[in-house]
């Protein structure tokens, strides 16, 4: 075990896979000379050279498409997009091409492509740089979707993603890059897709936290224990496709109560999908409706006080947990943080 930052864990995964497999190569805007907008790829150009670590023009749709073509013909490209909002420019290559080529051509070609990008609010980057859009990718068959929340998972899942034969949307979080954690040294330590992580055990309520919200949920769970004698089980699904529903259902079968926490928009979000699946498959286990705690249904505003209340924090999670437990809840920190769409 070694302690490292989420950013460093991702860099280590890339470095190890670049060393392990000659077919692995990286492309992205400013990942080379500049070292990456968030410094994840720092030092890789120096070690592996311009053939394998390529700075690209600002052409998101084409960069991803180049990755698709390279992946179809034997390479294992890892494309970095600077922010998830920019992935919308590449949505055609991601959905109409990367996700569907294997199926559309009858399984002849596969697309072992990884598209990495950070998402999330917290740095006042405003409405074009701060959203959480995992739900858009989760919707699409043919894609795998990872949302790691710890350095260990970031490294283990990225290595699995690079070794997987399918196209992977690998969603990092800007507010996690600096977070430290223990990471296994073993270069073949992988974290498999479709395996949720039970971050905290508890018997009173199940709290599912997505991406960065897994950590917020853990903090909320600690306060629930200290301040309300409520033992929450916190589950981080780690990947949304495939989804480890079994672990979530097993937990709900014990707790009979569930709260889902996500940073993204509420309508058609990850939480709605999980809530629907849980209600369908564990209806009789539920003593109360599944509660969602989501980001506000607004473009992310720049102004600090507005940004702060536009995504979930511990108070809303605590309040939701208490309400599914039927305990009268303290006043909501941010009414907005759980509001829905027009």
């Amino acid at each position: 075990m070694a302690e490292m930052r989420y950013r460093e864990a991702l860099g280590a995964a890339l470095r190890e896979e670049l060393r392990r497999d000659e077919r692995v190569m990286l492309m992205g805007e400013d990942i080379g000379v500049f070292g990456g907008a968030f410094k994840v790829t720092e030092g890789l150009l120096e070690e592996f050279g311009e053939r394998r670590v390529r700075d690209t023009p600002i052409s998101e749709n084409t960069i991803v498409g180049v990755g698709v073509g390279a992946a179809m013909t034997g390479l294992r490209p890892v494309v970095e997009l600077m922010t998830i909002n920019f992935a919308l420019l590449a949505f055609d290559q991601i959905v109409n091409h990367a996700a569907h080529i294997h199926y559309m051509f009858g399984g002849q070609a596969s697309v072992p492509l990884v598209v990495r990008m950070p998402q999330g609010a917290g740095h006042q980057l405003g409405p074009t740089h701060s959203h959480c859009l995992e739900a858009l990718f989760l919707h699409v068959p043919g894609l795998l979707v990872a949302v790691p929340s710890t350095p260990a998972d970031a490294k283990g899942l990225l290595k699995s993603a690079i070794r997987n034969e399918n196209p992977v949307i690998f969603i990092e979080h800007e507010s996690l890059y600096g977070v430290r954690g223990e990471v296994p040294d073993d270069e073949d330590h992988l974290v498999g897709f479709g395996r949720a992580r039970v971050a905290r055990e508890g018997s009173d309520v199940t709290i599912v936290g997505v991406s960065r919200m897994a950590l917020t949920a853990e903090r909320a769970a600690d306060r629930l224990a200290q301040e309300h004698q409520v033992e929450a089980e916190v589950i981080d699904p780690r990947t949304l496709r495939p989804l480890d529903l079994d672990t979530i259902l097993a937990s709900v079968a014990r707790t009979n109560r569930c709260v889902i926490v996500e940073e993204g928009w509420p309508h058609g979000g990850v939480g709605a999908n999980l809530a629907a699946l849980i209600a369908e498959q564990a209806f009789d286990d539920l003593d109360a409706p599944v509660q969602r705690v989501t980001g506000a249904d607004v473009p992310m505003p720049y102004s600090k006080p507005l940004e702060d209340i536009a995504y979930p924090h511990e108070p809303q999670i605590i309040r939701a947990a208490l309400s599914v437990l039927g305990v009268s809840a303290p006043e909501a920190g941010a009414p907005s943080a759980r509001a829905g769409g027009a």
């Binding site: 000659e22 077919r23 190569m25 053939r51 390529r54 690209t56 023009p57 052409s59 749709n61 084409t62 960069i63 991803v64 498409g65 180049v66 990755g67 698709v68 073509g69 390279a70 992946a71 179809m72 013909t73 034997g74 390479l75 490209p77 055609d92 290559q93 109409n96 091409h97 080529i101 294997h102 199926y103 559309m104 051509f105 009858g106 399984g107 002849q108 070609a109 596969s110 072992p112 068959p141 043919g142 795998l144 699995s160 997987n164 034969e165 399918n166 498999g192 897709f193 479709g194 495939p242 529903l245 079994d246 259902l249 699946l277 369908e280 498959q281 564990a282």
Partner: protein, 382 residues
């Protein structure tokens, strides 16, 4: 116009253009008889652009096209049986019935597809060329698309990147004068399409797309240059679509006279006449070539008719390549055993042998093993 090749080469070109023509005429009939569904885009009139360009390639080179690509599959050697079976939506189709007319594919012959999104194939072509370059091979990629596609954002993005990275790709814009019902001058500010790559660092060439000799000559030079200089080239093939954009097209956007004028330059008729004139073939042989084409198309239809439809249970096959992480899909409805393998993974949970890109990683390994000699290594293997 280029020089006449050896007689048997010339015969093969005529035969292949004829096969494509007869195949598509029959496909149109099958569409009218509802044997074929979806959209059907025919290349009738454009056969010289297909054969003249593809014949400038080596077997180890890649060809990638659009939704108008029956001819591109056939010219690469995909049996008409499998192309017709794809149109019929059968398991023996070259995309196993999944893609239909717009999404033909044959990895084994390096025909990299048939794409339904206008402009979507350009970045993929650049990626294939990048892969060839990365693997230190001499492979070249030929990417064909239409005049209308040259207005798509991927055109500018991809040509710039290909020029910047010196990728071995030939971009061929098949200028058939229309994007659907929109005439060239009504959709592109610059109508001299061979020049459309200049501002992006990609030099242009033009060929007479109604003349297979000229098309071959120009493409042969383009492919040669790209293979040697490692720089992309844009070739404009000037041609015309004799039929409607797709089967449902009243063609009110052009006059019967205009179509008739172009039909006088029918690439198969004119090339056949030339070969007879030059005594490369006689009328009898020309007849035979046509009969053989018709017979092969008959066989293709019979084969397609006999090929079974995909089984309902196969619906989920190949959504994913299965492994220990991706064991299948789960049903929204059935609780309990909701993890149903779309194709059962074996004990170790490894993929069941249907791993795609099979031959390519191996060839890659060779090339990489060969190190600096990778190019030759790969060349041998082609």
């Amino acid at each position: 116009m280029g020089a006449l090749p050896e007689p048997d080469v010339a015969r093969e070109w005529l035969a292949t253009m004829t096969l494509i023509r007869r195949f598509e005429e029959r496909a149109g009939e099958m569409y009218a008889r509802a044997k074929v569904g979806g959209f059907l885009h025919l290349s009738i009139g454009e056969e010289a652009t297909i054969v003249g360009s593809a014949r400038a390639l080596r077997e180890s080179d890649y060809l990638i096209s659009t939704y108008r690509s029956h001819g591109h599959a056939l010219v690469r050697g995909t049996p008409p049986e499998n192309v017709m079976a794809e149109l019929f939506g059968r398991v023996d189709g070259c995309s196993h019935g999944r893609g239909g007319s717009m999404h033909m594919f044959d990895l084994s012959r390096r025909f990299m597809g048939g794409y339904g999104i206008v402009g979507g194939n350009l970045p993929i072509a650049a990626g294939i060329a990048l892969s060839s370059d990365y693997r230190a091979t001499e492979e070249v990629t030929l990417c064909t698309f239409g005049d209308g596609a040259s207005n798509q954002g991927t055109f500018g993005e991809t040509l710039n990147l290909a020029a910047l990275w010196r990728l071995p790709v030939v971009f061929m814009v098949t200028n058939n004068q229309f994007g659907m019902g929109t005439a060239l001058r009504r959709h592109s500010a610059v109508t001299d399409l061979q020049r459309k790559g200049e501002s992006l660092g990609v030099p242009g060439m033009r060929c007479d797309g109604m003349d297979v000799l000229d098309t071959y000559a120009v493409l042969h030079e383009a492919v040669q240059r790209v293979r040697e200089d490692r720089r992309p080239v844009l070739v404009e093939a000037v041609t015309y679509r004799f039929r409607g954009h797709s089967m449902a097209d009243p063609e009110q956007y052009r006059s019967k006279e205009e179509v008739a004028r172009w039909r006088e330059r029918d690439p198969i008729q004119t090339f056949g006449d030339l070969l007879v004139r030059e005594h490369a073939i006689d009328e009898a042989e020309r007849e035979r070539i046509d009969e053989q084409a018709l017979a092969r198309v008959d066989a293709a239809v019979a084969f397609a008719e006999d090929s079974p439809f995909p089984a309902p249970e196969s619906l989920y096959d190949d959504v994913y390549v299965l492994d220990q992480d991706v064991r299948g899909w789960y049903s929204v409805e059935s609780p309990g055993d909701h993890r149903v393998a779309s194709r059962s993974a074996d004990a170790d949970g490894a993929p069941d042998g249907h791993a795609a890109n099979d031959e390519i990683p191996q060839q890659l390994t060779e090339a990489l093993a060969a190190g600096e000699d990778g190019a030759e290594a790969a060349q041998e293997s082609s």
